[in-house]
């Protein structure tokens, strides 16, 4: 288990009296891809949002590289200023892209990196070198997602698929340990999902650690090393896709998949 990069221990979350998920535990190997599937409202998205500190879990722990970054019982892990840095263990690609509309594709990718670099002690002396490094890295990333000809385009000039690929490059630029996707193709027209899934697949090939919430079953089967099926706030079944998607043991998993794989 020394390759475990993320460990989630009995995490629970409720909104008021509505329980979103309860006592969820799983772990993720470095360089592997995990797909989370399940019906809407089964708690997958909230789970991702908890990992990214956009929601606060009520119970449980989150460990990254063996270090506990969140413990519901230990308020010293809830400090606002630490959370900002802990977030950087994770990257998040949203369903609705959430690019910054006033910046070009390139600027969307570089902005947060530059702001973070200003906190480094050597920023003042090496400013121009640091910024040019960030810029060339951002260009490489946009090239990697197939957008080297769109560096200076603004989000409204890009298709949904292109916007989502910029969002992926933007998340990668922060060098997260784990890249999370929240239904990355759900807001896209069917003919545009392919280009985004292709990019995610290429990231899997170079062993980017990823946690993907998705409704694209055949994609999950192709790209994931592990699949987690969630239903009403609990993990019903998990294992390799050859089991969970192709040969589910649980009847609830089968029922869910029957609706998707007709």
């Amino acid at each position: 288990m020394e390759n475990t990069i993320l460990e989630v221990r009995s995490l629970s979350k409720s909104f008021g009296k509505v329980e979103v998920f309860d006592d969820i535990s799983f772990s993720l190997e470095k360089g592997s891809v995990m797909a989370m599937i399940g019906a809407s409202g089964s708690g997958k998205t909230t789970m991702l949002r908890c990992l990214n500190f956009l929601e606060t879990p009520d119970e449980g722990q989150i460990l990254v590289n063996g270090e506990c970054i969140y413990d519901a019982l230990d308020s010293s892990t809830h400090q606002e200023k630490d959370i900002r840095h802990k977030r950087l263990h994770f990257g998040l690609v949203f369903q609705s892209f959430n690019l910054f509309p006033q910046y070009t594709a390139l600027r969307n990718v570089t902005l947060a990196c530059e702001l973070l670099a200003t906190e480094n002690s050597d920023y003042r002396t090496g400013r121009s070198r640091i910024i040019s490094d960030i810029n060339s890295r951002a260009r490489n990333l946009l090239d990697q997602v197939g957008l080297s000809d769109k560096l200076d385009s603004f989000p409204h000039q890009l298709s949904g698929g292109q916007q989502q690929r910029v969002a992926i490059a933007r998340a990668l630029a922060m060098k997260p340990d784990i890249l999370c996707f929240d239904e990355p193709t759900s807001a896209l027209d069917p003919e545009l999902t392919g280009e985004v899934l292709k990019v995610i697949k290429s990231l899997a090939e170079v062993h980017t650690t990823m946690l993907i919430v998705t409704h694209e079953m055949s994609f999950a089967r192709d790209v994931a090393d592990n699949v987690v099926f969630m239903d009403s706030g609990a993990i019903v079944e998990q294992g390799p896709p050859s089991q969970v998607i192709s040969n589910p043991r649980e009847s609830r998993t089968r029922q869910f998949l029957d609706r998707y794989l007709e």
Binding site: L92, F94, S96, Q102, A112, F154
Partner: protein
């Protein structure tokens, strides 16, 4: 005659411009804390600010000018009344801060939550999120309602005559009494038209400048 009238009206118009500029400057600034107050998560503050905005927007500006000028010395006999101009400026700044605060609030609340969340997940601080991500988008959204309100302010300055500020309409009207001339009063309209025309051009420029992105 025309030049005499023009000269007099320009004297009045100088006061009109003074009221406009001072009100604009201070209420653009003061509108911000009022907007944040009315969005505050601290209930008493939010309640208090929203009541203030309701009262100010729910009563005539003319009445507010009168109250600020006569009110304090009527209630407390020892208080020396504010000068006429100060009273007008105080009333106008309070009034327009309330209106601007609502425009700010509308602009800020219209920013999708996803913008904040995306910036947060990229490790930005609250201050960075406000200045680097949200602010320009808010500005773009509020330019149209803002230009409306500012044009209204140009014309509202004429209310100052209720406590005998000799702004441009007052000056025009004086010619009716002193020389039985009606046209100088109509002539004042030209001053407002030209001023508002210039402002409209400026706002058009600003909108065009922010046209490079869509929100």
């Amino acid at each position: 005659m025309f030049w005499t009238v023009t000269g007099k009206l320009l004297d009045g118009f100088a006061l009109t411009c003074l009221i406009f500029v001072v009100t604009l400057f201070f209420s653009l600034i003061l509108g911000l804390p009022v907007a944040f107050g009315s969005m505050s998560r601290f209930k008493p503050l939010r309640w208090l600010t929203r009541t203030f905005v309701w009262v100010i927007r729910g009563t005539p500006l003319m009445l507010q000018v009168i109250i600020v000028f006569y009110g304090p010395s009527l209630i407390w006999e020892r208080v020396t009344p504010l000068s006429r101009m100060t009273a007008v400026l105080v009333a106008f700044v309070i009034n327009y801060s309330a209106y601007f605060s609502e425009i700010y609030r509308g602009g800020i609340e219209a920013i999708p939550k996803g913008q904040y969340e995306a910036a947060q997940t990229l490790g930005m601080t609250k201050v960075q999120i406000f200045f680097r991500v949200v602010l320009v988008q808010v500005v773009k959204r509020i330019v149209p309602p803002m230009s409306n309100e500012i044009l209204t302010l140009v014309k509202d300055t004429s209310l100052a005559r209720i406590i005998a500020i000799k702004e441009v309409i007052w000056m025009g009207q004086e010619f009716i009494a002193s020389r039985a001339l009606l046209w100088p009063l109509f002539y004042t309209g030209a001053f407002y038209l030209v001023f508002c025309g210039l402002l409209t051009l400026i706002f058009g420029k600003i909108e065009k400048k922010l046209d490079y992105f869509k929100v």
